[in-house]
């Protein structure tokens, strides 16, 4: 197994951990953070393939992923703040209006 295979597995593993965190943690902010972990794993796989193939477009793509992540975090935080103001807590259990 060469390094790139290893990195692919690693990316998958980190993605799974992020997914685990998104599903299992109840604090809204921590969920956002685990979302970032997932995004990071994606970036890792992009980069490893770009380096493997010695091509640039992969790198450019990661740049735009960063841009998207920034926008996303800005809006997400705004929404989190407003949501917390409305509900009064960060607990995701309190936001279960869609139940049933």
């Amino acid at each position: 197994m060469d390094r790139y295979q290893f990195l692919t597995i690693l990316a998958g593993l980190i993605f799974s951990l992020g997914l685990l965190g998104v599903v299992l943690r109840r604090n809204l902010l921590v969920v956002m953070m685990c979302l970032e972990i997932m995004l990071n794993a994606v970036v890792l796989s992009f980069v490893s393939f770009a380096v493997r193939g010695q091509t640039l477009p992969g790198i450019a793509m990661t740049f735009f992923i960063y841009v998207a992540a920034s926008c996303e975090i800005a809006l997400a935080m705004a929404i989190v703040v407003l949501l917390v103001k409305r509900r009064g807590s960060l607990d995701l259990g309190a936001h279960q209006e869609l139940k049933g």
Binding site: L19, V22, V23, L24, V31, L92, G93, H95, Q96, E97, L98, K99, G100
Partner: protein
């Protein structure tokens, strides 16, 4: 353009017009349409009949192919041969007369259009039955007349007893129809066709085992018994008197109940190959005739007396068919239509005058007030009793002679039973006349002053039928008398190509025949005399005998407990079977499986699936990614 199809079609048209629009038309239009269309059918029948009598070629008309299933081709086809011609003439002729009578009888009824619609519907189905070329068309008419009978018996449906009587008629009919259908299956199995001509010619030449032929014959007999109210399916006929009197006259005297006789005549090819079945027919007919006559003795309801009389007379017709004398049976059918209709309509006139009173114990002394009715009623009764020169004498005598002399099973025993029945017939008929028209006036006071002769429409019909009861027999003179006077029997000659002439045992002479004729006249007259003795001269005797007979009298007047047996044994066992046994085993289990379990499992599945919707976004994220994983896997492994 005279077409055969018009004969049944015109009454159907009357049904449609009166049924759909009758309530909006004035009454006189309704009755004109209802009476005029059958009259037109009668005219067409006459025209076709004269053509047939001239050249002897039966007419066939195929309307369309109804079903073509492999080897079975069923067409809607009508066939007009000699037998159908006689039946058509009777049905349309007597039918038209009864329609005219009904115009007067039902003129004050609130549902008169519905009545005429049903009556025309009945004519349509009866004509379809009679003109049917194959068993399917006949069966369609068969079922249809059963339907019309149900509708008309339960015409005053607001009375639950009357509706129940209608249902009883229909259900007992259906029991008989099972026999008919099974017979049709067997016939098709062997003959591969359901066309009557083909059936008769097939069974004449195919050498099937006698047991098979007997089976087919008995099944056909069961069907005929249901329709013609023979033992043991006779229980509906007395109850059917709940319908309006013209209905009883038309359906339960002249036409529908004779459909069984028609069926036996049509399928004569089958029966002539099945001597065992013929035996059963003979004995069944004889027994029905006898038992019907005994039951008629004990009735106090005028219409019920006539009903049992009908049952008894049709027993005679069946007996004649069983003896191989199909044409004698048809002749009796023809004369019976006239005099029985006359009797029923006369009874209707009495009921009309007494505003519905049917119990003879509340009548009496009507001779002075309704002489015209009395005379027509008397004409019909004399015909029924078989007094010459009335029509009934010739036809009944022909049957009695066949009972003794036929080579297909005639014997002294049959003749004896038939003759005793004839005597009983005379007895109960004149008992009815004496109780109704003579004797002490038992009419309740409030009805006394309204007694009047029937109106013109009813009276003219009574007159025509009364005269026919006298004159109709002369076209079927027995061979002996015909030869003596140099006349012919056009009726029997007409039917010979189809039904053959009844075979007589060897060694019987003309003298014997004349002697038997004389015996039957004597028996009838003695019956009349005895009834006069018991009811007019010494009324106390009849009461004394009734008391002495005790249990036997009760049994007879209860119809030999047939009704009680059917009710308490058969119906009750069915009830127990279905309510206690089948309900607990079958229905509850099925309910559980199909309704409770099915619904429950659907609900369970729904509950299970609804647990997916937890309301937490995290779970939904998981679902999305799980789907993504699946798609990825599928893509990786299959693409």
């Amino acid at each position: 353009m005279i077409k055969l199809t018009l004969i049944p079609l015109l009454p159907l048209l009357g049904f449609l017009i009166n049924g759909l629009m009758g309530n909006r038309l004035p009454r006189w239009i309704v009755s004109t349409i209802a009476c005029g269309l059958p009259a037109l059918s009668f005219l067409i029948t006459l025209i076709l009949f004269s053509g047939l009598a001239a050249n002897g070629v039966p007419l066939t008309e195929t309307l369309y192919s109804w079903a073509a299933l492999g080897t079975l081709n069923v067409d809607v086809a009508f066939y007009f041969d000699q037998v159908s011609a006689v039946m058509c003439l009777v049905v349309t002729g007597v039918g038209t007369l009864i329609h005219i009578y009904s115009a007067g009888y039902m003129s004050h009824d609130e549902s008169q259009p519905r009545y005429f619609a049903y009556l025309n519907l009945f004519l349509f189905f009866m004509l379809m039955l009679v003109l049917g070329k194959n068993m399917i068309v006949l069966f369609a008419g068969w079922e249809g007349v059963g339907l019309a009978s149900y509708l008309l018996i339960g015409f005053w449906y607001k009375d639950p007893e009357k509706s129940a009587a209608g249902m009883k008629a229909f259900i007992v009919n259906r029991v008989g129809d099972t026999g008919f259908v099974l017979a049709a299956f067997l016939i098709y199995f062997y003959a591969h066709t359901l066309d009557f001509q083909a059936i008769n010619s097939y069974f004449a030449t195919a050498n099937l085992p006698v047991s098979t032929m007997n089976l087919i014959g008995i099944l056909l007999l069961i069907g005929a018994c249901g329709k013609s109210a023979q033992l043991p399916l006779h229980v509906w006929l007395p109850d059917a008197m709940a319908g309006p009197t013209p209905v009883s006259a038309l359906i339960h005297a002249a036409t529908m109940v004779t459909a069984g006789v028609y069926l036996l005549s049509r399928a004569n090819g089958v029966f002539l190959q099945a001597p065992g079945a013929m035996e059963v027919v003979i004995w069944g007919g004889a027994l029905t005739a006898f038992l019907g006559a005994t039951m008629g003795l004990t009735q106090y309801n005028l219409k019920k007396v006539l009903a049992y009389s009908t049952m008894s007379q049709i027993g005679y017709m069946f007996m004649a068919c069983g003896l191989g004398s199909f044409s004698a049976g048809m002749f009796h059918l023809y004369t019976h239509a006239f005099f029985k209709a006359c009797l029923f309509l006369g009874a209707g006139a009495v009921l009309h005058a007494l505003h519905g009173e049917e119990d003879m114990r509340n009548m009496g002394g009507l001779y002075k007030k309704m002489p015209f009715t009395f005379y027509t009623f008397l004409a019909g009764s004399l015909a029924l009793c078989g007094i010459p020169p009335f029509a009934g004498f010739f036809s009944k005598d022909e049957i009695l002679w066949s009972a003794y002399a036929s080579s297909h099973g005639g014997s002294q025993t049959i003749w004896l039973i038939a003759t005793v029945t004839a005597g009983l017939t005379a007895f109960y008929m004149f008992r009815a006349i004496i109780m109704t028209f003579f004797g002490t006036d038992n009419v309740p006071a409030k009805l006394k002053h309204g007694i009047h002769e029937p109106p013109f429409s009813m009276a003219i019909v009574l007159l025509i039928l009364g005269v026919s009861s006298l004159m109709a027999g002369f076209i079927g003179l027995p061979g002996v008398i015909a030869e003596k006077f140099g006349l012919s029997s056009p009726f029997f000659n007409f039917l010979t190509p189809v039904l053959g002439h009844h075979a007589i045992r060897a060694g019987l002479t003309e003298q014997t025949e004349l002697m038997f004729m004389a015996i039957s006249i004597i028996v009838a007259c003695s019956g009349i005399f005895l009834s006069w003795l018991f009811y007019s001269r010494n009324p106390g005797w009849s009461a004394a005998i009734k008391k002495k007979a005790g249990g036997i009298y009760t049994a007879v007047s209860q119809g030999y407990y047939f009704d009680a047996f059917y009710e308490n044994v058969i119906v009750k066992s069915m009830d127990i079977l279905s309510e206690s046994v089948l309900y607990n085993i079958g229905e509850k289990l099925l309910n559980y499986i199909t309704i409770i379990k099915a619904g429950g499992s659907a609900r369970f599945g729904g509950d299970l699936l609804s647990r997916l919707q937890t309301g937490s976004v995290q779970a939904y994220v998981l679902y999305v990614l799980a789907g993504l994983a699946l798609i990825l896997w599928w893509g990786v492994t299959n693409v």
